[in-house]
């Protein structure tokens, strides 16, 4: 998976491409751990992301908890049908702000 990050003030946009699964989730976790300190608005672009497994969901859950803890926002964009299916099955559709 490839992660491209764009920073603009307190807004961080992460563009994900490839797969968000067991082997790639640690790299997103690293970004979440290290780059959210001054961020109030986290935008995740999934247009190029093929699929998400539970390892990826785990990182997304950590990220959204952290943003909520500091009254920030986290929005997911352009998730494909397969990813949306996983969000629905797991109830993440209600936890995450998906657009």
């Amino acid at each position: 998976m490839k992660i491209t990050s764009e920073r603009e003030g307190d807004c961080l946009t992460l563009k994900l491409s490839g797969r968000l699964d067991t082997s790639t989730a640690p790299s997103l976790k690293e970004v979440v751990d290290n780059e959210l300190e001054d961020v109030q608005d986290l935008q995740i672009d999934m247009e190029q992301l093929e699929y998400v497994s539970s390892a990826g969901l785990r990182v997304l859950l950590i990220a959204t908890k952290r943003m909520k803890a500091k009254d920030g926002t986290m929005v997911i964009h352009k998730a494909n049908e397969g990813i949306m299916e996983v969000f629905k099955i797991t109830g993440f559709i209600d936890i995450l702000d998906v657009k």
């Binding site: 699929y51 998400v52 539970s54 859950l61 909520k68």
Partner: protein, 399 residues
């Protein structure tokens, strides 16, 4: 979608069918043999009882007849002393005593073997109005011998044939007159109670044999229904669309052979991974899997679902199973995809894991259990089996 019930092995179905057939054949053979044995035993018992009864009745009848004859001969002697003429009265009286049915009779013989008085009016022993013949010269040798014994003044019993009918005769002399009194009773009259006993015993035997047949028939029915029920249960318990065999055939094999040796004829099978858990590279495995799915032109939406499932299942195997070795194989038939995961780790059925609560808020959510939940929701069948010391999990996605 199916929750992946455990499939029934082919050998169990085979044993059930074989047990059904063997049980039915054995029961029928057993029923036949028992009937034959019971009939034979009943027949032997009836014969023995009838024979003994007949012998006992004959002995008793002969003794009674002799006792009666001797007693009547003594009475007769007294009357004879007073009247000095043979008379019919005592002969008829003894004849009545011999048999209540009127089939017995009595006669008086002089020392020349001639019948003086007889209770019969026809047959071999009756009183001829003309000069009576000497019975000692009779063509009936048994009768001639009886007449000989009587004329000689003896007493006793004898079995003989008179008028074509077997009979017992008892005789005793009338002392001082040279005459002899004889009482005759047909053998069939004596044996009548024994014949009745035989008839009753035969009825009892037949009833017993019928009862045994009913018991065995009911047992046969019971076992047949039990086995048939088991068979139906086994067949009904197998997951729809999943045939025994295929991937699972190798499961019982010993050694380190973890591959798929056999598969459905129309199914192409490819080994995705086989080896030590330490050598697992998930990215490589997923790429290999994706390459095969693309090669076989599996629709994209199912391709990603299968890749997610492989990631979920195999990452769990690597983290938690404690396995030394593991394998993944993928079988494709048209758009139908089957993936088998095997490992030699601790027995663990992920399907028994409690369903996660997917309605909780973000702050309350735990991530555990979501992986297998996704697999169960996106696959058409998920089947777990522990066989040959290995965890075997099969996922199936229909096209």
């Amino acid at each position: 979608m199916s929750k992946g019930k455990r499939a029934v092995p082919a050998w169990l179905l085979g044993i059930s069918v074989a047990a059904l057939i063997v049980g039915a054949v054995a029961s029928v053979a057993c029923l036949y043999s028992v009937n034959r044995i019971m009939e034979e035993k009943g027949r032997k018992l009836t014969d023995a009882v009838t024979r003994n009864t007949e012998q006992m009745l004959e002995i008793m009848a002969r003794e009674r007849l002799l006792e009666l004859t001797v007693s009547r001969a003594e009475d007769f002697e007294e009357k004879l002393g007073a009247e000095a003429e043979p008379c019919l009265y005592p002969v008829n009286e003894i004849a009545e005593e011999v048999s209540a049915s009127g089939q017995g009779y009595a006669f008086l013989l002089d020392d020349a073997g001639r019948v003086l008085i007889s209770s019969r009016t026809e047959g071999e022993i009756f009183v001829c109005q003309e000069e009576a013949a000497d019975l000692r010269g009779s063509g009936n040798e048994e009768l001639a011998y009886l007449a000989e014994c009587m004329a000689a003044g003896g007493s006793g019993t004898q079995k003989l044939t008179l008028d074509g009918r077997d009979a017992f005769a008892a005789y005793a002399p009338l002392k001082g007159s040279g005459w002899s009194l004889a009482a005759v009773m047909p053998v069939d009259v004596v044996r009548a109670p024994a014949v009745e006993v035989e008839k009753q015993l035969k009825m009892l035997t037949e009833r017993e044999v019928r009862l045994q047949a009913v018991i065995f028939r009911d047992m046969l029915l019971f076992w047949t229904l039990t086995l048939a029920g088991t068979l139906v249960f086994c067949i009904a318990g197998a997951p729809a669309g999943e045939k025994p065999g295929g991937f699972r055939k190798h499961a019982g094999k010993a050694g380190k052979n973890m591959g798929i040796e056999k598969s459905n004829d129309a199914e192409k099978v490819k080994g995705i991974f086989r080896g030590s858990i330490e050598a697992v590279d998930m990215s490589q495995i997923l790429e290999s899997m994706e390459g095969y799915l693309k090669e076989e032109k599996i629709a994209e939406e199912n391709r990603t679902r299968i890749l997610v499932a492989v990631d979920e299942i195999f990452s769990n195997v690597c983290k938690y199973s404690g396995a030394g070795e593991a394998a993944i194989h993928c079988g494709i038939s048209g758009q139908r995809v089957r993936v088998l995961f095997e490992d030699d780790g601790v027995p663990y059925n992920p399907l028994l894991q409690p369903e996660p609560d997917v309605a909780l808020e973000a702050q309350e959510r735990q991530i555990g259990g979501l992986g297998i939940h996704i697999v169960k929701k996106t696959m058409d069948q998920v089947i777990y089996e522990y066989a040959g010391g290995r965890n075997c999990l099969t996922i199936i996605k229909e096209g």
